[in-house]
């Protein structure tokens, strides 16, 4: 819906969450975190 995904590389992980980085149209950062279960930090 207009926002630019910055995911040129695979999503990052931090513990039980995966991180998808986006940039809003006005330049502000938007990060979406999704629970994926246990994993490396």
């Amino acid at each position: 819906v207009g926002e630019r995904a910055e995911n040129a590389h695979p999503p990052e992980r931090c513990g039980v969450v995966e991180i998808a980085r986006h940039l809003k149209d006005d330049g502000r950062a938007l990060l979406l975190y999704t629970r994926i279960g246990e994993g490396p930090t």
Binding site: V1, G2, E3, V16, Y33
Partner: protein
Amino acid sequence: VSDGSKIGERFNELRGEDVVYAIHRQDRTFLPSREHCPLDATRPGGPRTEIPFPSFEIAVFDNRFPAFESPHGAAEVVVYTDQHDGSFGSLEPQRAEALMWVWRHRYMELGAREDIDYVMIFENRGVEVGVTLHHPHGQIYGYPFLPPVPALELEADRRLGGCAPCALLKRELDDAQRIVHQNESVVAYVPYAARWAFEVHVVIREHRPSLLALEAGELRDLAQALQAVARGYDALFDRPFPYVMVVHQAPTTAPPPDGHLHVEFYPPLRTADKLKYLAGSEQGAGTFISDTLPEESAGVLREAIARAA
């Protein structure tokens, strides 16, 4: 601010502290209608929100009305869920655990920036503490300086000759009468010298400077304890209980000073319908006058937390 920039600090000499002026915040979104919540997911055909996706789990974005912004600090919004109704306390336990990892990630990223000396994760809940959006969310400020409260905590370490939260936790465990909840990794208590009637400190048992030092099980236990306190608050007077919740951690200056991760709740209610105001003594002298004893508050809160479990 006086030079035309929208954010600026001035040093208040009499108080020995910085005051931040962010005058654009005067026009920030204020208690919008249910249909125009900017923290909802963007519904197909609906108004565009801050999160332009039809659903999400946890979202973090730069505040549209920041008190700090790069390259002189940061201000972020953390949306706990795409469900408009609910609260931190009513999140699924797995979501609350995931939120701890989000906090950890933000502390790591913001703390690594040279322009940020202190990362403060917090939540304001309820119009009584100035909430302007009801959707379950918190905020993160990356301060470009060390604010007075964490500076005082470092001073307490020096005064007590070691980690102050470690010493105070031991004191509370030995005394035991103000403890309201505990699990394997975390202890929650109304502190001996609480300022607020139902103030609670949620403290990691082991000495951990920040979220970065917590093990996975400790993060899970922290989420459990924080939710237990939040639910207990709501059960206390059978009403949504306003509070300010603040995560205290080591500053992120280089080299980082020590710290001891703990979370402090500052609830303004002293009864079901009476607020504690910061009035003459609190504002003019800096001395809190409390109408309740921490031991008595802890007793009723402990029962409320047990009822809400």
